[in-house]
Symmetry: C2
């Protein structure tokens, strides 16, 4: 127990997808307060170069640190891949967690045949981030990475099980073969989990990297004696642009309305 226990946890993402991670974090850590920062002005990160994304991630982390936080969650696969090592060394005094390693670790532990199918954006697949992290835990694992760019746009339209969504999911699942485990390697994808489970059948394990990140954060806060004892936790939302779109589309990922939430516009440049 130290003085920082009741500080908030900072969470950032390129936009709204990270709200699926925030949802999982709040379910696993109901006594914690959070400050969520969405870079609506500069989304998506997935089509930008790693150098640009790294600079953005550093700016996002700095803004959250200025608000006083006790831990940082990089709730974006692209930013995790481009900037997690740098952010970890930049912030030696607090836990810094990304979304890739917890999902990779879970996939390696639940797959019986070590054949793993990773669904992510083109950039995350091209970076081989899951590939590299999964083999750290299971050197013999065979990973098939499937770029699923269209799912981001479908998710933002709230189309999760209509004709278009089904045609798109079937298209991307064409290349699934022996794999017994599917990793949702993009924060936009958890909303397809039920539809995917129906298409894949009950024998396939689906790993939601938001849920695994929440478990990993619980472990780290606990190990560092940083768990909150706060009985009335708060959630603050900060965005760099487009409050109206955040309010409209965000609930698809967060699971509840944002109408009553205080959303603050912040300047990041």
């Amino acid at each position: 127990m130290n003085n920082n226990n009741n500080l908030a946890i900072g969470v950032f993402d390129s936009g709204m997808g990270g709200l699926s991670v925030l949802r999982a974090l709040r379910q696993t850590l109901p006594l914690e307060s959070f400050i969520y920062l969405g870079d609506m002005a500069r989304l998506p990160y997935g089509t930008k170069t790693p150098e640009t994304v790294k600079q953005y991630a550093i700016q996002m982390a700095r803004l959250l640190v200025e608000r006083e936080i006790k831990a940082l969650v990089v709730a974006c696969n692209t930013a995790t891949t481009a900037a997690l090592p740098y952010l970890t060394s930049m912030l030696p005094d607090m836990p810094v967690i990304g979304v890739v390693e917890p999902g990779a670790s879970r996939a390696a532990s639940v797959s019986k045949n070590q054949q793993i199918f990773v669904m992510a954006t083109e950039t995350t697949i091209a970076s081989a981030a899951y590939q590299k992290n999964i083999v750290k835990f299971s050197p013999e694992a065979k990973i098939h990475g499937q770029a699923c760019n269209l799912l981001v746009a479908l998710a933002e339209e709230g189309m999760v099980d209509n004709d278009i969504a089904l045609a798109t999911l079937k298209h991307y699942l064409q290349s699934i073969k022996e794999q017994d485990t599917v990793v949702l390697g993009c924060t936009h994808f958890p909303i397809f989990k039920d539809t995917l489970q129906k298409l894949l059948g009950p024998s396939i394990h689906i790993v939601d990297s938001g849920e695994t990140t929440a478990d990993a954060l619980l472990d780290k806060l606990s190990a560092n004696q940083l768990l909150s004892t706060h009985q009335t936790p708060t959630v603050q939302y900060l965005v760099t642009d487009s409050i109206e779109r955040f309010k409209k589309v965000g609930p698809l990922f967060l699971g509840h309305a944002l109408d009553e939430a205080l959303i603050e516009l912040v300047d990041i440049c």
Copy 2:
């Protein structure tokens, strides 16, 4: 005829969609040189607020003016809506053309029943930009605006007539009723023109705002005695990030490869 005739025409867009406009410009104006600037670092503009897009558009226009141009084409519906009046007053000494008015004018002139269906991004539809411009030419016109966000992602995947594209186009065309004219109000959409024409049948007129913008520019250059006499025109490409993605996806809109093109990375901030 004046000293500026052989200067290039500046063209900017949030990313790659504007290359469909450049393609039309080059077909209509084969003796002209062009400098195309794609804001790959900050795309898409369609989800950002008009104030932010206006600031971006001013920066983009300034950069092109520094390179010496004789005319400016805003090859992006969102930027046209947010910034065209400002850019026109900012640059009183050169023709400044956006993509909305030429398409609106053409739609008003070709529609027999003055029932017009506009396909565009959610932001363009919400701005009622085509609505306002079409009624300037045809006060009695009835316009139905259809937000077609998914088509942007499909276009960038090069999916124009597979199962997913057909399901998506049919979904968006469900609301077409009496309309005899369809306006492609997003620079990403011309690549769906053939598929749309098959789905709609030959009696429906499809207006490509890139082609109409090229015709409007030809008229303005001609009226201002600014047409080029250059026999070996050049095309330069400038991007604010992601040269590789520009090279890979750009050809879908431009109609030819960019492998050999000199693409320059520029800093806009």
